[in-house]
Symmetry: C2
Amino acid sequence: MNIELYLTAVPFSEANLENKAVVVVDVLRSSTSVCAALLAGAKGVIPTDGPGEAGEMRSRLGGDNTVLAGERNGVRIDNFDLGNSPSEFTEEAVGGKFVIMTTTNGTGIFKKTAKAELVLSGGLVNASKVVEKIAQSDQDLVIACSGQQGNFSIEDTLCGGLLIDLLASKYQKAKKMNDAATIALQLYQNNVSILRETIEKGEHGQYLASLGFKNDVSTATLIDSMPVRPVLRDGRLIKDDN
Amino acid sequence: MNIELYLTAVPFSEANLENKAVVVVDVLRSSTSVCAALLAGAKGVIPTDGPGEAGEMRSRLGGDNTVLAGERNGVRIDNFDLGNSPSEFTEEAVGGKFVIMTTTNGTGIFKKTAKAELVLSGGLVNASKVVEKIAQSDQDLVIACSGQQGNFSIEDTLCGGLLIDLLASKYQKAKKMNDAATIALQLYQNNVSILRETIEKGEHGQYLASLGFKNDVSTATLIDSMPVRPVLRDGRLIKDDN
């Protein structure tokens, strides 16, 4: 399969997604929180563009069935039930409910995937589950790294590299790659033994630590620790059971 | 010094440049062509946004003193004297004249550097000359990779990595780096022995080869082969003699 990786959301907006599989990557932290929410028994996670849309969605689905979660610049949005720490998504908080989520970098990207055949949310914590599905589908793959407010981020690129490494080594599926995919694979292979340290030293890792979220950064770096596969259906990320 | 690298022009537009030195990098091909032009005796290279601005500039400076050079998507612009092949910038073509230049990715970035203290044009072919000046100035450094139409490109990132590697190894100047600078340095160190091959295999390298410009790609990969230092003064890239 062909693999294209986009380091940020800006060039991704221009990508041709027809008949392709897309993995949206936002390691710190929405990809990780989506997995945590689904594992804690949430019915689904609904990515939205902003607090306005999130509020409307809640009015539509009803307050009893839903939880509002999200942050701007790392900090929980006023009047939201939850922020964006994976640890907040407990069974008590989200079990049996839809999580309506909006984050600075990650959630908006799902709106741009309408033309894709298959859309998954992928992080380091569920890399193998995601890759298994991609290998089965055998469609060309687009990896959309969220980045950090229009800029590249090291943790998303490393995660993209891990996905490609698994596709290549386990399934012999990586045929042709764009420049960004090549660089992501090299970066991952360079840092495989010091992944957590590299991410903690990265800009966004340091920023989150300064806000008191150092544990979230560690949680997000544990490869395959949350074996769940969030797939987008009708605008909702739900557990894929196939 | 602090080193920030921007993988594309989009996030660079938001960077704070006050009291900083900026190196604009467009390995394929404008950084290389600027060096070729100055070495061939051009009085200066004037980077412009587009053919319209280039034409106006020529009217202002007079046809006898100027040469129009530029491309869109790799191909010479209609009615321009030259395209963007380094080999076109001969003494006969540009000696004693100003080259008014517009290219798809590289030249527009200079317009966004007004607040910087020092602005240089850097490629692989003049890396050591550029780094020498940056080390002398001892200002914080911003490396602006042009990329490819909003997307990341491997050759500009490798060149950024070479600049950082030289600053670190030769001058012990690299103190703090952003994520993109870290990745660029790693990428360069990974590929140092196969630089030409990596760039030829890259997306833009292959595209230029398909247009018949394979020699330009090889030329652009020869480190320090064009020892000249183009510095921006009053909107013109001129030879820096200090």
